[in-house]
């Protein structure tokens, strides 16, 4: 069991080694390249702030996803829930355009969470009452929400003074996340992520609901036999997951972006799936994992700026982490045995 929590570290070490080899093959000094990748980006205060800024949405979404994944519900559409949350939250922010008031930001955030929740309820309801496959439905809904966002920022919500460019007005200050430090972009949204971590730990490990979630994840039949209300639980985990993704979306648009446009998320909703598994679906593991994955984004940028290493190595790194994690899991749960099969034995 201790190994189970240890393998993510093995995966990260293997990824770094693999990365070094790739850099070497590409003709770079691997030590120098890795330094620019993993150390330079966070060697100053601004870099640390950017790391936390990048990790915040990943952590929030992954926390939400852990509820779904732990209970065997495969919500692949966090990106869509993030987008829809941002749409609803952004809509409220635009409603209060040019108004002041301490209540505006909480309303915007709440709207974002509710938006994500509602959007996640669609695959959940379809799964519980119509037996549809939640993987497909949640994934397809990503495109629905992205197209809806496209429509809104091109059409009805586009900035009247913006020459028809596909973006809304800049939100007024009352709907923006307060910055934590002057000159840095890290904002109050990080507290939402930390609160989500604490709450999820409490729910998962200290409540009856958490127990149900874990049992259903280990064995659906046992859960049924124990008389758990499976349908309610499915709805609840999807709602939690959607709310977290919606919060991540609203955190981005009220934080560093400050308006709605078509590029509010570089696929955080999908990357968070890697984060959730790298963190072993454990709230504190997820904090760690979100920081590691956020670093691969920043590292890819610094490596290109200083060494002109193609930026896509960032995605290669994320892919390698997941690959090595799954591979080490496989070796952990299955024993590799070299069988000496005779020909007639194969006929079985």
């Amino acid at each position: 069991m201790a190994l189970y929590f240890f393998t993510p570290f093995i995966a990260i070490i293997l990824t770094i080694l693999g990365g070094g080899i790739i850099f070497y093959i590409l003709g770079f000094n691997p030590i120098e390249a890795l330094k620019f990748y993993f150390i330079t980006p966070i060697s100053n205060l601004y870099g640390l702030s950017e790391l936390l800024l990048k990790a915040t949405p990943l952590c929030l979404i992954a926390i939400g996803l852990s509820f779904c994944f732990k209970s065997n519900n495969w919500n692949i559409g966090a990106e869509g829930q993030l987008t829809f949350g941002a749409i609803v939250g952004g809509g409220v922010a635009l409603l209060f355009y040019n108004q002041e008031g301490f209540y505006i930001l909480p309303l915007v955030i709440l709207a974002g969470a509710i938006g994500g929740m509602i959007f996640a309820l669609i695959p959940a309801v379809l799964k519980t009452y119509f037996n549809t496959n939640e993987i497909l439905v949640s994934l397809m809904l990503v495109y629905v929400s992205k197209l809806l966002l496209d429509y809104l920022v091109v059409g009805p919500w586009s900035n009247p003074e913006g020459f028809n460019f596909p973006e809304t007005r800049q939100f007024s200050d009352s709907s923006r996340m307060p910055l934590l430090f002057e000159g840095l972009r890290i904002h109050a949204g990080i507290f939402l992520a930390l609160a989500a971590v604490m709450l999820s730990w409490f729910i998962l490990y200290k409540t009856y609901l958490g127990f149900q979630i874990k049992v259903s994840g280990l064995s659906l039949k046992t859960a049924k036999y124990a008389g758990f209300k499976g349908k309610t639980m499915i709805l609840v985990v999807f709602m939690i997951s959607g709310a977290c993704a919606g919060l991540a979306g609203v955190g981005e648009i009220t934080g560093p972006i400050g308006q709605l446009h078509r590029m509010i998320s570089p696929d955080y909703g999908f990357t968070a799936i890697i984060v959730a598994f790298l963190g072993r679906l454990n709230p504190f593991g997820i904090i760690f994992a979100s920081l590691v994955v956020a670093l691969t984004y920043l590292g890819a940028e610094t490596a290109q700026i200083f060494l002109q290493i193609p930026k896509y190595t960032g995605q290669v790194f994320q892919g390698m982490i997941l690959f090595f994690l799954l591979a080490s899991d496989y070796l952990l749960f299955f024993k590799v045995k070299i069988l000496n099969l005779k020909k007639n034995e194969l006929r079985h």
Partner: protein, 354 residues
């Protein structure tokens, strides 16, 4: 005496070292929205960067930078890591560029296709692509048999509408029966969508296809269907050698070299640049021999006249779709009107999406 001499010597060496250093250390950064191999928009900016590099100036680029929260960090990192001039080559970098410019008053910024210059160290630049569209319109008007031109458009921003109008006006001049059909794809780069749009236009009878999007999918679709097409942003001829009549080429190289040299030599000033055929920021690809020698000659003459200013793409009388006059007879549209263009001219079918 000797002490002083050494002091001066040392400071002289230092000063010399510094001034040489500041020249040798002069670096230019580029932020791209797409991959350098997109064969369209980013590809051409990258060609411009190569020209700066060839002029002996060090450069750095970061590709595929999303126009969201990440852009500001990339621009800031370039400014922090000793880049003296930074080109941000997509509209979506407008606000991040201005934000970073505020914190780095000694770094110069050049933002492509935007309209905000909030600080003295931010310049903007764009090209008069519509002049190229006028040439395409002339060719299309002559080449079409169905009198229908298909136009794949990205977003209903003034730049795109200007291109549609310039093309339509020029086509009408040589062929009064011309109709322009438009499909809005709401993306700059999506080969799948662009190919579908091209096919839809061909199915509606268009026998000339042109695009204001960046992939090579429309010209390849046109090649397969046996209709005419035009390349966009870069010379796309090799992707559809039979179908492409010519390409509008964005040539950023002269501008980039000029600005980089100016920044290095300390003569850089804030400005809003809008260059066209005259300065070479808009250039034309090779003309397809299927056009015939006469038409090629005509178009080359028109190209010269547009460059010299003898002919303007928007010369009155110009009417909107309802027949209201936009530009009076004998007048030409001024840059203010061009920059904010938001209505179609007569002869374009459909409505601008709202």
């Amino acid at each position: 005496m000797y002490k002083n001499f050494f002091k001066y010597l040392i400071s002289a060496i230092f000063l010399l070292g510094f001034s040489v250093n500041s020249n040798a250390d002069f670096k230019v950064g580029f932020v791209y929205v797409g991959p350098t191999g997109d064969h369209g928009w980013t590809f051409q900016h990258h060609e411009g960067r190569n020209a700066v590099e060839a002029a002996g100036i060090k450069t750095t680029f970061v590709e595929s930078v999303p126009e969201g929260a990440d852009a500001e960090r990339v621009i800031r990192q370039l400014a922090q890591s000793g880049h003296d001039l930074i080109f941000t080559t997509s509209f979506g970098y407008m606000d991040p560029t201005n934000k970073v410019a505020k914190d780095f008053p000694n770094v110069k910024f050049e933002h492509a296709t935007g309209y905000k210059r909030e600080h003295a160290n931010v310049s903007t630049y764009s090209a008069r692509f519509y002049e190229g569209r006028t040439l395409l319109g002339h060719i299309a008007g002559k080449m079409t048999k169905t009198n229908t031109i298909g136009y794949i458009a990205s977003f209903p921003i003034p730049e795109v509408i200007r291109g549609i109008n310039a093309m339509t006006l020029a086509a009408q001049k040589v062929n009064p029966n011309i109709k322009t059909k438009i499909v809005w794809v709401f993306t700059w780069y999506d080969p799948g969508k662009e190919a579908e749009a091209a096919q839809a236009l061909i199915d509606q009878g268009a026998d000339v296809i042109m695009q204001h999007t960046d992939s090579t999918a429309p010209v390849q679709t046109a090649e397969k269907a046996g209709v005419w097409s035009f390349g966009q942003a870069s010379d796309m001829q090799r992707f559809a050698p039979k179908s492409i009549l010519t390409s509008i080429i964005d040539d950023w190289a002269p501008y980039y070299v000029e600005r980089a040299v100016a920044a290095r030599d300390g003569t850089w000033k804030q400005q809003d640049t809008w260059h066209g055929l005259k300065e070479g920021m808009v250039a034309m690809g090779p003309y397809n021999s299927a056009m015939g020698a006469d038409l090629v000659k005509e178009v080359e003459q028109l190209q010269k006249d547009l460059a010299s200013g003898k002919v303007h793409s928007f010369t009155g009388p110009i009417y909107d779709q309802k027949g209201n006059i936009l530009v009076a007879e004998g007048k030409v549209a001024d840059d203010g009107m061009l920059a904010g263009m938001s209505v179609y001219v007569k002869g374009v079918e459909g409505d601008i999406p709202k």
